[in-house]
Symmetry: C2
Subunit: 441 residues, 2 copies
């Protein structure tokens, strides 16, 4: 993609309406623009990040046998009246009347709808378990939307729902989802720690929050440093092996990790001083087991092996996809801009042409651009070098490939790693290999 | 994917609420379930089709230099008051008040929002042209939703918007989009014919509708049979070559094609009898050039080369993505079920195991399933053969791979093409090649 003809507007000035770094950087790097209070349009670079995150979430949901569906944004109020949440939900629920005066609402979550859908389709215990999810826009009418997409009103969420025959099986599904989340966040390139949580308005008695570490986070967090050493991707746990899942869960919960709300001073004091980590964090996901709360209130049952009605045990499992974009930036930026993890960066690299009128520069840039025209952004603008460097740092591309007249004449370019600032001079032909074989230390 | 553990519910009975074939088949094949009047949840098979269509649309939009963004579903009424459409739009627009009594609406289309966004970002004639699009859910509060997703209320649409410096350039962009649409529909595997159209409430003076041929279509259509012979994909037209684009447009418009509204009896009579085709069709896309209607009413201008204000000339370009699912089924089904075009089928093939207790059958099915576990659906259910065949025909997989005990013992399977009904017996090892090298006559 060529920057000169792209809809990738960067801003030099610091936007006065943004109070936190991620909001400022998302505006300045051209990821989003506000269209109404707490509602955003995603520009091409922002949409790419949103889609990269969604795709990793999707792959790791599918890997544990969850099936993707897509429920609509608008819901009839009938189901919510059945579950009792229509009145309970309060003013955060956006209530709507259609032209026939039917009460609709913009879904803030989907427990009711999925339970009803499940009940229409699944009739026998033999069809359990089921894990269904969707990645869909939700709306919560925050009284004071702020912090950009971190506390917006229209937001993208992955929400999964599970149905199991009994408590024991439901807990196994909960463990499965825990595994999926640990893998998901590691692939997203961020440090996320699950912490025991209150269940809140969803109800139930088992819940974990997933907290991304960021100095500007909303909650204080306390955790055992050994947690950060775990490599979930290389553990090769079979998600159908119930024993392995139970062991994994035991292993995770043995590490101390708590937000300030749940902090237990006496357990904390037992951790060796050197392993105690205090910091701040942002919630980017939460998982719940809540049993038969919805299946019972909505009278959705399956027929068991003995012919009797059984109310399936449910859990729900959220990841705030649009919120993650902000949260990841909070945890990964410097004074010059965003530092994207490789797996979700809108562009892998930016080719910076410092001699747009120099034949060698242009020809090298065109050649490099052809390596991956879709994922290598080509800064072909006729701008000062300083302004190009500043934009590349701001936009946070993992790699900058700097093509200047002096080195171009020797068929060489400079490659800079955004995260570390390290630079290396390479032959043009070496660039593709160097980047794809690079390993972070 | 294994059918036994999948959320792919088929229905034998004919749903009484559905009046047309596509609606009946979408319910029976387990693509959708209604959650409120004119609002649907997309089950796994339906979502796959929706995504396959979206991906082809996306690739062909990107191919002409359109850039993807994502605008929110909810819009502030302010912009619509500026353009004058807030009052004009009528009761199809779903109007919403948030907790602070601000007037929002669920976007039925995005001319206002994109014009405003464009105005915030693009300041100079040098940054033109711009073509921006998104694929997003829209809402129109139809007074009587019917025909399933064909006339639903919440629907998925690709809408693109273009900004050009003057009329001549805007027309070139219009031609580009025409090319993109012809390629898109051909790749979707359906016969779609562009027909001169009225511009309606969007305004402007150049518009084409894209009509898919289906006997149950809402409009009568008249067209020159030569149109159907065109192969847009093999034309290799460079979308940056203005002359080639203008020639293409000339070529397209030289063929007679009109809906009954626009039918011109005297031109029709000049077409040789043998080439006259009459039929019915469903509108699945429409493109408009409407000049400076929105840029002027919203006062969004760029600075021209002489320093003066210029109002960019705009066009908008829609494809009804969710509607297409229904329309394609209307044009491609038989009495047994859906006949999916290969490019958008939810699954490429279904492996039908007729001996779930036969060792050879099971081992061959597992082997075949491994060829492409994601796209080969494996019917491993313990069901009668007749019921499995009926489901496979109903769901419309392009290929059925039938594994029965007698042929399995000789390492053979039967492969059936859904579209033609032709069958061939093959060695297990030949199946993958046969399917991927098959060409429709």
């Amino acid at each position: 993609m060529r920057l000169s003809s792209s809809f990738l507007p960067t801003i030099k000035e610091i936007p006065s309406e943004a109070q936190i770094a991620s909001h400022r950087l998302m505006l300045r790097a051209g990821l989003i623009r506000q269209t109404a209070s707490g509602i955003y349009a995603w520009l091409p670079a922002g949409l790419r990040v949103l889609r990269n995150i969604s795709e990793i979430v999707r792959q790791e949901q599918n890997a544990i046998g969850a099936q993707e569906i897509l429920m609509p944004t608008l819901q009839s109020s009938d189901l919510w009246k059945k579950s009792g949440r229509y009145d309970a939900y309060g003013p955060e629920m956006l209530r709507i009347q259609d032209r026939h005066k039917h009460d609709l609402l913009y879904g803030p979550t989907n427990e009711e709808m999925i339970t009803d859908l499940f009940g229409q389709i699944v009739k026998s215990y033999k069809e359990l378990p089921q894990i269904l999810y969707h990645i869909q826009w939700k709306f919560r009418d925050e009284i004071r939307p702020r912090f950009g997409v971190m506390r917006g009103r229209e937001f993208l969420m992955k929400d999964a729902y599970s149905f199991d025959i009994d408590y024991d099986k439901a807990v196994i599904t909960y463990y499965k989802m825990m595994l999926s989340y640990l893998r998901t966040f590691q692939r997203l390139g961020v440090k996320v720690i699950p912490m025991l949580a209150d269940t809140g308005p969803i109800g139930g008695d088992l819940s974990h929050e997933f907290i991304i570490l960021a100095p500007t986070g909303e909650s204080g967090v306390f955790f055992d440093a050994d947690f950060e050493e775990q490599d979930w991707l290389n553990m090769q746990i079979d998600s159908e092996d119930e024993k392995a899942l139970a062991n994994l869960f035991k292993q995770i919960t043995q590490f101390y990790a708590a937000t300030d709300e749940k902090h237990d001073k006496s357990r904390w004091d037992q951790i060796p001083q050197a392993r105690r980590r205090e910091g701040r964090g942002i919630e980017v996901g939460q998982i719940f087991y809540f049993g038969t709360k919805y299946t019972q209130s909505m009278d959705i049952a399956v027929i068991g092996s003995d012919g009797n009605k059984i109310y399936p045990h449910m859990g729900s499992y959220g990841i705030g996809v649009s919120r993650l974009v902000g949260a990841i930036i909070e945890s990964s930026h410097d004074e010059n801009g965003i530092i994207w993890p490789d797996s979700i960066a809108p562009f892998k690299a930016c080719i910076i042409n410092l001699g747009v009128k120099d034949e060698a520069c242009v020809s090298i840039c065109e050649k490099l651009h052809q390596i991956d025209p879709e994922n290598f952004l080509y800064d072909d603008r006729d701008e000062r070098a300083g302004s190009k460097f500043a934009d590349a740092d701001l936009m946070g591309h993992p790699w900058q490939i700097i093509v200047g007249p002096r080195s171009a004449s020797k068929n060489k370019v400079e490659v800079k790693r955004r995260k570390t600032g390290e630079r290396i001079e390479l032959d043009v032909e070496e660039v593709a290999n160097y980047i794809s074989n690079y390993n972070d230390r």
